[in-house]
Homo-oligomer: 227 residues x 2
Amino acid sequence: MEVPRLKPRREHANAERVDLAEIAPELLPYLGQAAYLQLEAFQGLAGVVRAVPELEAKEELSTAAGLTLGKFHGLVAEIRRHDGEPAEVMRPFTVAIDRLQQVTSGADWQETLLGVHVTTGLLDDFFIRLAAGLPKDVGPRAAQLLGSDGGSEAIGRILAAELAADPVLGGRLAMWGRRLVGDTLLVARSALHNSGNASTDEQRIEPVFTDVIAAHTRRMDALGLTA
Amino acid sequence: MEVPRLKPRREHANAERVDLAEIAPELLPYLGQAAYLQLEAFQGLAGVVRAVPELEAKEELSTAAGLTLGKFHGLVAEIRRHDGEPAEVMRPFTVAIDRLQQVTSGADWQETLLGVHVTTGLLDDFFIRLAAGLPKDVGPRAAQLLGSDGGSEAIGRILAAELAADPVLGGRLAMWGRRLVGDTLLVARSALHNSGNASTDEQRIEPVFTDVIAAHTRRMDALGLTA
């Protein structure tokens, strides 16, 4: 393992992120993909706001939708700050991400909400790690934006209440959660193709995937679901 | 026509609003109905964000959705400030407003977007007028919140572009817009039932309806649609 200590953009990276800072995603494609993922997550949450019957849950999820929309608008502002046209920059990613949205839309709002929770959790984690390879004037800001509160605590609480109220739901949601991981990681992996060094990067990225999946497992555990 | 000059809550009301300040809606039901209407408008806009194909329009409409969500959260905060439980306070209005949402959901995103534009325009105007009869510590704040930018300019621009691109759409949207007015005004009128003085208020409110409908006609005119 190479450890090029002198590379300035590495200075804030911690030990876990050593290899990932070697991957330098192209800035605008990174921002475009990350932005469209937030827009998709926002739409998923807004759909659940409509579908969920309880008004308390509607309010909480609307807050989560607003926070996610804020991340989208933050990334769009970042695209403009770097002289990108948001629509142009997002366009290459719409087909794959729309497909992910279709795959993660469940048979009911509980599945769809878990779909948003799982995919957003995995992808935000992954894009935060990737941000270590961005220029220093934007990487930390993008990571902070993606890492900011998106309402996942409320989402977890609402899912936990549903699981507590329905003993059959757990098995179904656990299976559903497992189905989502593969498709979500495919989209994450596609982000490496923006770095122009895909095959080397695929190897470098493996420990990151391991970490990101471990965090996913902890999120599922918190719901009492086997990942 | 009675003109009770001494009533302190009238002091900011202009001539047009003279009669309406006589109608004193109960505060929490007013806020609950107004809040749930914003939540419904938010959901409508979020649905159009998903349905509209162009990424530029998605971004603009997501901004409108965020502004509308901000109005909802502002009204919810107002409910809490007055010791209301938002879910309890909104609950009496969900059936009628969900029905309005069903009626105003069109056959395509252009109809649905016009539905949001028309119903939000009419109802925001109406609730701003009704706010004149609320206590002074909350009425002006509610009116300002409802009158704040909700992205209607962008919505109008997007609809105008669609109308310009499709010569057949105008006739269909004009007819659609006319269908929406009656159901929307039914919901507006139901707000009077919160004042405990419904039959007198119905008479007092007529000039307000005239004004609110005139503003609606101007919005339709701006799109080149006959109201």
